[in-house]
């Protein structure tokens, strides 16, 4: 730190050429007059909002107007007097036992008001399916995105600097990263006795016999990658307590009712003493569907007796929020000469990362949807979700559907190509229609698959192009 700011400032006055800008363009600014904007604006409403009937209108959005004016308040746009800023220290190992955490040096820094570790969280587990995630890892850290301690300080910069002063003693444990390795009996275990933490079977007809009897059998393995939601707004929270011991939490969470239950559980206070406000969320896509830093910020606020804000950095948004499950998918499909599907056998392995999160829903939807929107009498799907010491996978737009669709639709085209059938024809031939039976033998209604195939093909000019 250069300590001569004042010297430099006097020098600087001489050195800066002039108040006139040297920036490249000398074009006049086309700022309209009358700024800053004063509200309310008296603007006409569009017909789409004022006519009846309301349903079917291309109604404009009142929140859309605020977005365009820059008037929408996301969490990071809210602040309070005396508010502190929180930062979270992340694990140094993908798998380790935390032996000791010493926050005393950080606490001595001027401007650092409170610190917290996992040991201080009243009920240090949460999760929508299994409560296997810690608010702050203790005593085991299971991936590098796990928080191990948090700091509240008067500025973000100070809070960041304070993290460096926290001493964490780890006893590294053997990590496992590959889901196929993790599935083996002798792999290092991440929670409990098996890394397979959830599985699903869908069984209809006799798939083995039907495959044996099929004139053509296709087999292929498909794989998908880990994907991040990339909401443009990183996750953010503010917590503030009042004199009645009631906490108000502003959060970028998309599910406040259940979020309040989780906060109540982790903080061990009644739900009636928690007010959770979900402001406009700056992009969710599934990544903001469970609590993340809300209990940490609430506890720091309680300890410091000040409002506390925590905003994820872009890096944290990648490493410490959930991401999309990678799938390893084995597809075996039996068809007859006309391209009718006789049997489909599927094995799915989901890389679950360090915690379960929304895997229950992902494996459920993934398995049910895996055979595709096709009439198939003989179906067998087995799916396994496996813990690894990587970023937690959770809800993301489609819950396993984009993964299995990539597999079933790739294989559909492979079959069509091999049998010399047009890709549109093979889909129309096998596709669901009204009252078709799903792989779980549910009678389907309001089925519009073939309508979508036909309309898309017409719009695209599929037949003309094929001819």
């Amino acid at each position: 730190m250069v300590t001569r700011t004042t010297d430099i400032q006097t020098e600087e006055d001489q050195l800066i050429p002039s108040q006139e800008s040297k920036a490249p363009s000398s074009q006049p600014l086309s700022v309209l007059g009358g700024n800053p904007v004063l509200y309310p604006l008296e603007l006409p409403q569009s017909d789409t909002r004022t006519s009846t009937p309301a349903v079917g209108q291309r109604a404009t959005r009142p929140d859309g107007r605020l977005h365009g004016l820059g008037q929408t308040q996301y969490i990071d746009d809210i602040s309070f007097p005396h508010m502190l800023h929180a930062k979270i220290l992340r694990s140094e190992y993908p798998h380790a036992r935390i032996v000791n955490i010493d926050t005393s040096e950080a606490e001595k820094m001027p401007g650092v008001i409170a610190t917290i570790t996992g040991a201080e969280v009243p009920e240090n587990t949460f999760g929508p399916t299994y409560q296997d995630q810690p608010v702050l890892a203790y005593p085991i850290a299971r991936h590098l995105g796990d928080g191990v301690a948090a700091v509240a300080a008067t500025t973000e910069q100070l809070a960041t600097e304070a993290l460096e002063k926290i001493k964490v003693e780890y006893e590294p444990l053997t990590p496992v990263f590959d889901p196929l390795e993790a599935i083996e009996d002798d792999s290092p275990k991440i929670h409990g006795e098996s890394n397979i933490y959830t599985s699903k079977i869908i069984k209809k007809g006799d798939v083995e016999k039907a495959l044996k009897d099929s004139p053509h059998v296709f087999h292929r393995q498909y794989k998908t990658q880990m994907v991040e939601h990339v909401p443009l707004e990183p996750q953010a929270t503010i917590a503030s307590w009042d004199g009645n011991g009631r906490v108000t939490i502003w959060s970028s969470l998309g599910r406040i009712t259940l979020g309040r239950e989780d906060i109540s559980r982790t903080l061990a206070i009644p739900q009636s003493r928690i007010r959770l406000i979900g402001t406009i969320v700056g992009g969710n896509f599934g990544g903001k569907n469970e609590i993340r830093n809300e209990p940490i910020v609430a506890l720091l606020s309680k300890k410091s007796r000040r409002p506390v804000k925590c905003v994820f950095t872009r890096d944290e948004e990648f490493t410490s929020s959930t991401i999309r499950h990678p799938f390893i998918m084995d597809y075996t499909t039996g068809v007859n000469d006309e391209g009718l599907i006789l049997a489909r056998k599927i094995r799915l392995v989901l890389d679950g990362g360090a915690y379960c999160s929304w895997t229950g829903t992902t494996i459920g939807k993934g398995s049910i949807l895996a055979p595709g929107p096709y009439n198939i009498e003989n179906v067998f799907v087995e799916a396994y979700a496996v813990y690894t010491n990587k970023t937690t996978t959770g809800a993301m737009r489609g819950f396993g559907a984009p993964q299995v669709c990539f597999a079933y639709e790739s294989q559909m085209d492979e079959i069509a190509h091999k049998l010399g059938i047009d890709p549109l024809e093979i889909r129309l031939k096998n596709g669901f229609s009204e009252n078709s039976l799903s792989p779980t033998s549910q009678t389907l209604q309001s089925v519009a698959l073939k309508e979508s195939l036909n309309q898309a093909s017409d719009r695209f000019g599929w037949k003309e192009w094929k001819a």
Binding site: L32, G33, N35, V37, G68, G70, T72, P231, L232, R314
Partner: protein, 158 residues
Amino acid sequence: MLIELRVNGELRSADVPPETTLLKMLREHLDLPGTKLGCDVGDCGTCTVIVDGVSVNSCLLLAGRAKGSEVTTIEGLANSNTLHPLQQKFEEYGALQCGFCGPGMLMSAKNLLDNNPTPTVYEVRDALAGNLCRCTGYTKIIEAVVDVSRDMKAESDA
């Protein structure tokens, strides 16, 4: 250090530490939180503002460098009687969803139309490539910008 600049036509000043970015100065020192922080390293474009007639990522520009400049932020796009044509069309098209990219996107679009009132669709895409959006697939945003330029052309032809 004392930074004086003209923001949305008004002379503003603040005493900020020398490492302060223009983004931070606008949001935290000048009470203009319309400009957003999305990545803080110039990748996402949510912090786009116009400085002396060109669009920049305000997270990469030190406030000291903007000293004496003319800065336009999203708060300066409308006036008290009318929305800017871009804001109007963005609203009509439903161009923004979560809206977090919106302020930056609009400033990039304004910067384009200030410099090139009749852009091609490719030029619109190119002008917005520094503003990431995860919600919209950019489609309605591009349509709205093209529509504004069409109106501007019609107006100037009339």
